[in-house]
């Protein structure tokens, strides 16, 4: 009986994958230095652009819109009819939110967003997407087994008779969710309500929690 050698088997795909952090950092710095030399950008531009998304643009913007919609029925109607214009009323808009549509959660319908082809996300209202939104597992599973994803991964157990609508943002319209106003918030102001609104509730992988205490 002959034995098959266990080593030396060529790998099924060619290439050197999974670069180390140091290797990627060096490559990024190399690219950046060449782009700067060619007049395509500056270090200052990098810092200013990053600062915009670290400090100014984020889910607190979407939370302001949600709180306004909860307290102003006419604003809510405008938001559901033309989200881009309604957000502009509060000075909110920009890249990856040029054409926004807001979908409303109700007792009968729960909405959630995903991008199976890449990572499309409404930057002006929700900020930059979290890694899990951009990574394969969520993108693959959310269109096929959303109820399981929501309950197993996000601890969100929806009533069996609540319809789940998944918005796979495959084109240039950017969807996001108007969550339901939780009970126990009747006396709260618009500003107090905005603090309660979570990013996950506007993605549709969470609901807005009732205020504590």
């Amino acid at each position: 009986m002959t034995t098959t050698p266990q080593t030396g088997s060529p790998p099924p795909v060619a290439g050197r994958f999974a670069a180390s952090d140091a290797e990627v950092a060096a490559r990024v710095k190399a690219l950046e230095s060449l782009m700067i030399e060619k007049g395509m950008m500056t270090e200052q531009a990098v810092d200013r652009i990053a600062e915009l998304y670290e400090r100014e643009v984020g889910p607190h913007n979407g939370a302001r819109i949600v709180a306004r919609a909860w307290t102003d029925p006419e604003f809510k109607q405008r938001l559901l009819e033309d989200a881009t214009s309604a957000c502009a009323e509060l000075g909110i808009g920009g890249a990856q939110g040029e054409d926004m549509v807001v979908v409303e959660n109700t007792d009968d319908v729960h909405n959630a967003i995903v991008c199976t082809l890449c990572s499309c996300y409404p930057w002006p209202t929700l900020g930059l997407p979290p890694n899990w939104y951009k990574y394969p597992a969520y993108r693959a599973r959310m269109v096929k087994e959303p109820r399981a994803v929501l309950s197993d991964e996000f601890k969100l157990n929806l009533p069996d008779d609540q319809e789940i609508r998944i918005w796979d943002t495959s084109a240039e319209v950017r969807y996001w969710v108007l969550p339901q106003r939780p009970p126990g918030t009747e006396g709260l102001s618009e500003e107090e309500l905005a603090v309660l609104v979570t990013r996950d509730s506007m993605i549709g992988v969470g609901v807005v929690p009732e205020p504590k205490g």
């Binding site: 952090d21 710095k29 990053a50 269109v143």
Partner: protein, 225 residues
């Protein structure tokens, strides 16, 4: 292209495992790659070419790479393809920074350019276009996603090709990704939000779940059903 990026419905990828908190950027290099987006678009890589550059990553690299490695891949690839950056020079420069990670970057100031970039982020750049063409379908129409398998860029996902749905909304015309990615023009086409039942997509039992999927499709991706 029928690439690894087209993930809808793929099983076996494991848990989503969302952490309670995440920084906007995990490292300095992530921040710097993110900030190259608009400069890269300004250098002539359009949004569809940017996406197609990511789609053409090797599947192993695509699945194993951190998110901003995808962006790094498409930006450097796009600039090299256009002859703006020399691949050899990029390799040499990479080795230089690997050996000298703290070596400084060229000191250049250009406040006007920075403001122009920031303006793009703040004002956006819609790909919606005026069009005189009357949309072929109306809300309520039954439509089927045509079975196409182009090797280039497309935004028609595999999991819906051949499936039948109902037009929910009719949007205006948007730049058509398939031709725009090939530098063959914007050719704006109406976009439709189409509603699909899980049972139509995943089989009679809906893959064990009942839900509805809404997917935006450009007119050339659709036919009457």
């Amino acid at each position: 292209m029928n690439g690894v990026h087209d993930l809808g419905g793929l099983d076996g990828l494991g848990a989503v495992d969302p952490p309670p908190e995440e920084p906007v950027f995990y490292s300095e290099w992530e921040k710097r790659v993110f900030a190259m987006f608009v400069p890269a678009l300004s250098a002539g890589i359009n949004l569809d070419q940017f996406r197609h550059g990511i789609e053409r990553m090797h599947p192993v690299e695509y699945l194993a790479g951190r998110y901003y490695e995808h962006w790094l891949h498409t930006i450097e690839g796009g600039l090299v393809e256009r002859g703006i950056i020399d691949e050899q020079e990029l390799e040499e420069r990479t080795r230089h920074f690997l050996e000298n990670p703290d070596a400084p970057l060229p000191e250049v100031e250009n406040a006007e350019q920075t403001d122009a970039f920031l303006q793009v982020y703040k004002a956006g750049a819609s790909t919606r276009r005026e069009s005189d063409t009357e949309p072929r379908f109306a809300a309520g129409d039954q439509v089927r996603v045509v079975n196409i398998n182009p090797t280039g860029h497309t935004r028609s996902a595999r999991y819906l090709r051949g499936k039948t749905g109902v037009v929910e909304r009719v949007y205006e015309a948007f730049v058509f990704p398939d031709t725009n990615a090939r530098d063959e023009g914007e050719n704006p086409e109406p976009v439709y939000s189409v509603r699909f039942d899980a049972a139509e997509v995943w089989g009679a039992d809906g893959g064990g779940e009942r839900h509805t999927i809404y997917f935006d499709l450009w007119e050339p991706y659709l036919e009457s059903a």
